[in-house]
Structures are given as structure tokens and as C-alpha cells.
């Protein structure tokens, strides 16, 4: 059964079960289901039990609980976790144990969350299906022959299979929202800069956005108020005050709320069943008195092209640090320093890392920089201006997340462009740096989950949470569980 963090804490306080029993149960579920699902790359059962015992001690002494005391978490394996192996889903970092932690993980831990392990991801978060992991693909629990989406596929699967109370993720082009959609769980990609990027292996620094998956929007709100806020370790983190999102879940009146449907998101290649379920959600909001408006974001079709210029460019720079000298795997039998770099990177980097570094290196090389990088950065401005204009007409946008439900493992893995195009409805949000909430809104005829996306204006997370929460109060798609 899916419980919210508050329900779980209330169970602990009323002694329905102890934190140790709760954590033991999670540990056992992971041992049982992970060999098939491959959601976790590393588990920390003993550490989790120790932390649970501390919660039980606190309960015995009637001390007040912290916001996340007793909540268990799976942490995407690109978040550094002090003294816990962090692979980034790559063989390059197979034995890397960091000596400091990422800010988001540290804040969750300091609020009481108990880590159960590190979740699978496409190598360095490069991908949309978790098939690019150096440790094998994660399987979708609704049908294990299908991908769970990605790159945060391990976290989404851990969420839907109830292997942790919540899970962390990162979203550079859809890597939280798309797996949330394909697995049937809730996920938030906040405004760029709301959550600190410190201690997360960098992909594309002007796009990367840490966030969370949870059972409900209510939990996403609670978790985001813990993770968000300025961090002196990240010079692009937002200094704006962080609202208590979980107290604002009823703050938006659906009556009169202006919801925009961008027409570019409802045409080809959108799968008809997905479209139908999204429109049923639109009908729900209409029945609550929301004003539905057709709007246009004419440059949306350029999102993928902008993304696959700017992101590989930033990747080629960020990945330069993996030289094998300071951390990670390396080739020892080399002739000189250049040979050492080139052999190490050639041997240990997964194909998608090499592909993206090569694309980025080419794009930034002399003679091509202006034609591609500058041009794409200019079109980025056009995309932002279109969103700004639309947000003067409506309060939020409602769109699909993925053009189709989950697809078979292997179907797109030999065609990188086909894989890139699966992000067609999610990338523009990252290009603009806007916040977006992905929540389940139905199932197709094969009983595969379908999700919708609510996009808000900059730093308008409280509005998204409130609208999403009210939708979940009236529906139960987010509570459905696959048979394991």
C-alpha cells in the first residue's frame, strides 16, 4: 500500500510498527525484487537499520520527529553519498567512494530520511530508458520486457514497486518526468536553481535539475521544502526564500484557474490513447471550474535540436575531468600521459558517453561554434520568450509527458536519434529552466501507465503542487501498484 510520509509517521507515533520493522521490511523487499528489476546498484541495509533504531529511540523518549524521520529513500547513483559507493551508472566509477555528499542528499538525511541504497541510471544520466547504464537495464514492473524510462529509471521503479518511501532523481531533459510517466508515479522537476547541483556528477550545468519521486504530490511538496534553497556550494542556486509547500496544497482555487493547452504538444507523434487520457484530465479541471485555453508555443519543435547541441557541448566540457588520474578506473599499461587519458577514456566510458562527448567536441571545435552553439543559444531565447508570453495569458500549462507509454527494451537502443526524440515534450521545459510536475492520469488498454505534465512559471512550484494535489484527491491513478 502506498503511504504518504505523514501517514507513515503517524503509524510510527501510534506504534503500529517500529521504524526498525519498517526498514527491515523495505530491505527484504529490495532483496526479493531487485534481482529481476535491477533498480538498485548498491544497497545499505545495515546503515538503514542503524538509522531506524535511532528513530525508535527517539519515539521511545517521546522526542519530536523531524520532517522525514522514518521515511526511506533510494538515491539516484549520480548523487555523491559520503562513504557509500557512487558509480553514476558507469563502469568508469565502478569503485568510487566519495568523501563528501551532495547537498540535496545531505539535506534529506539531516531531515531524517533513511537511505536504503543507490538507484540505477543511464550512464552519467545520459539517456531516456536506463538501458545506457553500465550495469544493465532496469525493468519496468508493469511489464518487465519494457523500459522504465530514464535516466532516473532505477528511482522511478523503486518508487512504483514500493521499494522506498521516496527516491531522488535529476532532470536535464526529462529524466525525472519521463520515467515517472512510464512507471506511473509522481515526480517534480523544479525551477532551475531551486535545488542545489552540488555533489551531483554534472551533465549539462545550465540544464541539470535535481528533484524527487514520491507516492503523492503531497510528499513531493514536503520533500521539496527540505531540499530547496540557496547553497553556497552552487553559484547558480536560488537565493529566494523557500515556501512551506506542504502548507499550500489547497492554496490554488481550481475555479477560474487558467490552464493552457499548447497545440504543438497534442499533434503527431502523440499516441491516441495517451491523448485521450490527457484530455480526460483536462475535462476534470474543466468540471472544477478551470478555464481551458488553447495556446501556442510555435518553436516547440526546435527543442530537441537545441537540446542536442547545447547539452553535448556542456557534457564534453564536464566530462573532461574523468581522466582516470584522481578517481575512477584507469588503464595502467600506458606509454605516456596522453596515451593514459585516451586509453582510459576509450576503455571505461560507455558508448553513450563517448557519443555525446564526440558530438560536443565537434560542435565546439573551431569553425562550428557559431553555427551551432551560438545559434542554439539564440533559439533558446526565443523558446523562453514564447513561454513568457504564454504565462501572461494562463496560469499553468497541461501537456503530455511522453508521446507513448513504455516501449520494449532494445527497441530504440541502436538508434540514438529515435531515443532522443522520446523527450520531445519534456526538453523545452529544461531549455527554458521552468518547473514541471509529472503525475499519473490513467492507464492504456494494456494496463500501462500514462502521465501528464503541469508546467508552471519560474519558481511557481507551490501552484503546481496545489493543482496536482487537488487532482490526486479526486483520482487514484497514482495509487495503483503493479503485481510483482
Amino acid at each position: 500500500m502506498r503511504k504518504t510520509i505523514r501517514q507513515l509517521q503517524s503509524d510510527l507515533l501510534s506504534k503500529k510498527y517500529s521504524a526498525k520493522e519498517l526498514v527491515t521490511d523495505y530491505n527484504q523487499k529490495i532483496v526479493k525484487h531487485n534481482p529481476i528489476l535491477n533498480a538498485f546498484l548498491t544497497t545499505t541495509p545495515d546503515l538503514a537499520i542503524k538509522k531506524a533504531e535511532k528513530v525508535d529511540q527517539k519515539l521511545a523518549e517521546n522526542k519530536p520527529l523531524l520532517k522525514l524521520d522514518g521515511a526511506t529513500m533510494g538515491v539516484k547513483d549520480i548523487f555523491l553519498t559520503k562513504d557509500i559507493r557512487t558509480t553514476s551508472g558507469s563502469k568508469l566509477l565502478e569503485n568510487f567512494v566519495p568523501n563528501y555528499s551532495s547537498t540535496v542528499y545531505e539535506r534529506l538525511e539531516n531531515s531524517g530520511a533513511i537511505i536504503l541504497g543507490k538507484t540505477n541510471t543511464d550512464t552519467f544520466a545520459f539517456g531516456g530508458s536506463t538501458e545506457n547504464s553500465g550495469y544493465g537495464p532496469t525493468k519496468n514492473p508493469w511489464d518487465i520486457s519494457l523500459v522504465p524510462g530514464g535516466s532516473s529509471g532505477g528511482s522511478a521503479v523503486s518508487q512504483v514497486a514500493n521499494l522506498a518511501t521516496f527516491n531522488t532523481g535529476t532532470d536535464t531533459g526529462g529524466s525525472i518526468r519521463q520515467p515517472a510517466c512510464l512507471c506511473g508515479v509522481s515526480g517534480i522537476k523544479p525551477t532551475y536553481g531551486l535545488n542545489s547541483r552540488y555533489g551531483i556528477t554534472s551533465m549539462a550545468s545550465s540544464f541539470d535539475c535535481p528533484g524527487v519521486f514520491a507516492n503523492t504530490v503531497e510528499d513531493l511538496a514536503l520533500l521539496t521544502e527540505v531540499t530547496a534553497g540557496v547553497d553556497t556550494h552552487d553559484a547558480t542556486s536560488s537565493p529566494l526564500p523557500v515556501p512551506e509547500y506542504s502548507d499550500l496544497l489547497s492554496s490554488v482555487n481550481l475555479k477560474g484557474l487558467r490552464i493552457g493547452l499548447p497545440k504543438e504538444y497534442f499533434t503527431d507523434p502523440l499516441d491516441p490513447e495517451t491523448k485521450q487520457k490527457i484530455l480526460e484530465a483536462v475535462k476534470f479541471f474543466e468540471s472544477q471550474g478551470a478555464i481551458i485555453k488553447d495556446v501556442s508555443l510555435p518553436s516547440s519543435n526546435l527543442g530537441i535540436a537545441i537540446y542536442y547541441i547545447l547539452v553535448p557541448s556542456e557534457i564534453s566540457a564536464n566530462m573532461a575531468r574523468y581522466d582516470g588520474l584522481r578517481f575512477g578506473s584507469s588503464k595502467k599499461d600506458v606509454t605516456d600521459l596522453w596515451d593514459y587519458y585516451q586509453t582510459t577514456r576509450g576503455k571505461y566510458m560507455e558508448p553513450e558517453i563517448k557519443r555525446r562527448i564526440l558530438i560536443g567536441t565537434y560542435l565546439l571545435s573551431a569553425g562550428y561554434y557559431d553555427a551551432y552553439f551560438t545559434k542554439a543559444s539564440q533559439v533558446r531565447t526565443l523558446i523562453i520568450n514564447e513561454y513568457k508570453k504564454v504565462f501572461s495569458e494562463v496560469d499553468i500549462l497541461l501537456t503530455p509527458v511522453s508521446p507513448t507509454p513504455a516501449w520494449p527494451i532494445g527497441q530504440k537502443s541502436n538508434d540514438p536519434l529515435a531515443m532522443y526524440l522520446a523527450d520531445i515534450y519534456t526538453v523545452c521545459v529544461n531549455v527554458a529552466g521552468l518547473p514541471s510536475l509529472a503525475i499519473p492520469c490513467g492507464f492504456n488498454s494494456l494496463n500501462l501507465p500514462i502521465g501528464m505534465q503541469l508546467i508552471g512559471n519560474y519558481f511557481n512550484e507551490s501552484k503546481l503542487f496545489s493543482v496536482g494535489h487537488q487532482y490526486q484527491q479526486a483520482t487514484n491513478f497514482h495509487l495503483q501498484e503493479p503485481k510483482l
Binding site: T232, P239, L302, A305, I306, D323, Q342, S365
Partner: protein, 81 residues
Amino acid sequence: MNIKKISQLANIKLTPEEEKTYSTQIENIFNYLKVLETVDTKGVSPTFSTTNLTNQTRQDIPKPGLVLDGYIIAPKTIHKE
């Protein structure tokens, strides 16, 4: 695209098979990227930061740094007689 030159710039040693696969795949991706050529961007300034939150630096007060207990052992890469 000169894949040998690019892989050298990127410091990645590729096998001949990899060179072939990546050349084809990357050419294919580049054909798709051409869609931007048709967009009129005259006079549009480029965006490098979406929220304009750059250089949110902390006050320059000394704080303890990370402590490494031990040394970093790197392989011998300079071979001089």
C-alpha cells in the same frame, strides 16, 4: 566529419569499428540539427543562464575544507631514462 581528429580532441581512443558506428550515427544526428538553420535569429541575444542566477557567491570567510586521509596514487606516466 573527421572522426579521428574529433576523438583526438576529445581524448578518447576509438576502435576502427567504433569510428565507423559513431561517424554514421553522428552524421545522422547532425542532419537533424540542421532544422535550426531555417530559424531567423538576427538580433536575438543568446541565453546561457535561464534564471540569471549567476555567481551567488558566499562571503569570503575561511572554512575547513575536505580532508583526505592518505595520498592519491597515480600511475607512472612519464618515462624518462
